[in-house]
């Protein structure tokens, strides 16, 4: 492509990423990357999820365009999907965004680390599992790094980056280059359960739900106070609906196991909502009703 204008040091065509997991975060990260012109191989064991992902990604790319968060005049990157990691060999980075379960994530990282070139960053998008725990399951722990994209990744400009005890400097640099290509600002923190954002936010959301459970206030009132008095952008319970209440409960359990902090034990109202399938925006109902949108 000789007509292409000169670009700075991180041309998007130098990247080709694999995203593991076609859930809310995997789809959102895929949309972010495609919208910045990067080719993406999206992998999920569930073909139905992959079939639905195409439409979801198109919808999210439209939201990103609507909100002006995509670079102008960049052609959307090509999307490939697969139900196995067989074709992962040539990618420049892997972003793992599967279920928030240590065993499942460890297995996925072990599998992909055997298939990619040494030095390919293996990026776990965990919201709370310590990176070094996951790193131990990969063939090369130094290739493993954490990023915590917030939902929706194509609208939120900052990403929490977690350097595990064994994460190599080269891995930090490679992941940093990828985030630059995605126009994300990175804030690097040390490895710990929940890092910074989940360690602070998730117990707060748990408390917000507990306040509703105890009948002190409605979800609307809690959010209105947190927004109107304290400047929280969306309110903790609307945020819970956006995270996915099942995912939030998983994350709180991980935090509780690792820290022993009772404030991280998921409250009954959250557990009830998961049992009833009221998982938030993605299921059409959580603390709020989203039926009209789906």
């Amino acid at each position: 492509m000789p007509a292409e204008p000169p670009q700075e040091s991180h041309p998007s065509h130098a990247h080709r990423i694999a995203v593991l997991g076609a859930g809310v975060m995997g789809v959102g990260i895929t949309a972010l990357a495609l919208g910045h012109g990067l080719p993406v191989l999206l992998i999920d064991t569930d073909q139905d999820k992959l079939d639905r992902a195409g439409d979801a990604i198109d919808h999210e790319l439209r939201i990103a365009q609507l909100m002006g968060t995509l670079p102008p005049d960049v052609r959307t990157g090509p999307l490939e999907t697969a139900t196995t990691t067989g074709g992962i060999g040539g990618v420049t980075a892997v972003i793992e965004a599967i279920t928030e379960d240590t065993g499942l994530k460890a297995k996925a990282l072990a599998e992909v680390s055997a298939r990619v070139l040494p030095g390919t960053p293996l990026i776990s998008n965990t919201s709370s599992i310590p990176i070094d725990e996951l790193a131990g399951c990969a063939e090369r722990p130094e290739d493993v790094i954490g990023t915590h994209f917030m939902n929706p990744p194509y609208l939120i400009p900052t990403v929490e980056v977690i350097q595990g005890a064994r994460t190599a400097a080269a891995t930090m640099a490679a992941a940093g280059e990828l985030l630059t290509a995605l126009d994300r600002r990175q804030v690097v923190v040390r490895d710990a359960p929940g890092f910074v954002t989940s360690r602070v936010l998730h117990p707060m959301i748990n408390d917000a739900a507990r306040v509703v459970q105890e009948g002190t206030a409605t979800a609307e009132a809690v959010d209105a106070l947190m927004e109107g008095c304290l400047g929280h952008p969306t309110g903790p319970l609307r945020t819970a609906d956006l995270i996915g209440i099942d995912n939030l409960v998983d994350s709180l359990r991980v935090l509780h196991q690792h820290t022993g902090d009772d404030g991280c034990r998921p409250c009954d109202l959250l557990l009830d909502k998961v049992r009833r399938g009221e998982l938030g925006r993605k299921s059409g109902r959580g603390f709020y009703d989203y039926q009209e949108e789906n």
């Binding site: 919808h59 439209r62 365009q65 609507l66 909100m67 929706p152 609208l155 952008p233 969306t234 009209e292």
Partner: protein, 107 residues
């Protein structure tokens, strides 16, 4: 009144102006009704829906999908930007322009 001078608007004959105005009023009425249902409050045609920070990007996208479904238009490319959805007036203008470009006034 529509003070825009986009191609299709200027070619309309005097007899079609009245029905086109009526169609625009209907579009405006529909959007106001949709806003009221979804936000549980009333809106003025000129009010910036996103100014207070109260309405989200997801709601903006809901408006896009609603306009597309209700008025049979496709909102693509440079039209897909938040400024087109800030007020009922700007949304009505967008629908009118897209319908005119598609070769009719939409009724």
């Amino acid at each position: 009144m529509d003070t825009h001078t986009q191609g299709q608007t200027t070619t309309r004959t005097a007899s079609t102006v009245h029905t086109a105005d009526q169609a625009e009023k209907d579009v405006q009425k529909d959007i106001l009704r949709f806003l009221q249902t979804r936000t549980k409050r009333t809106w003025q045609p000129e009010t910036d829906i996103f100014a207070s920070g109260g309405q989200s990007s997801l709601f903006a996208m809901e408006l896009v999908v609603h306009l597309e479904k209700s008025f049979g238009v496709a909102i693509r490319g440079k039209d897909l930007r938040l400024d087109n959805f800030r007020t009922v007036v700007s949304m009505t203008e967008l629908v009118h322009r897209l319908q005119a470009a598609a070769g009719g006034t939409g009724d």
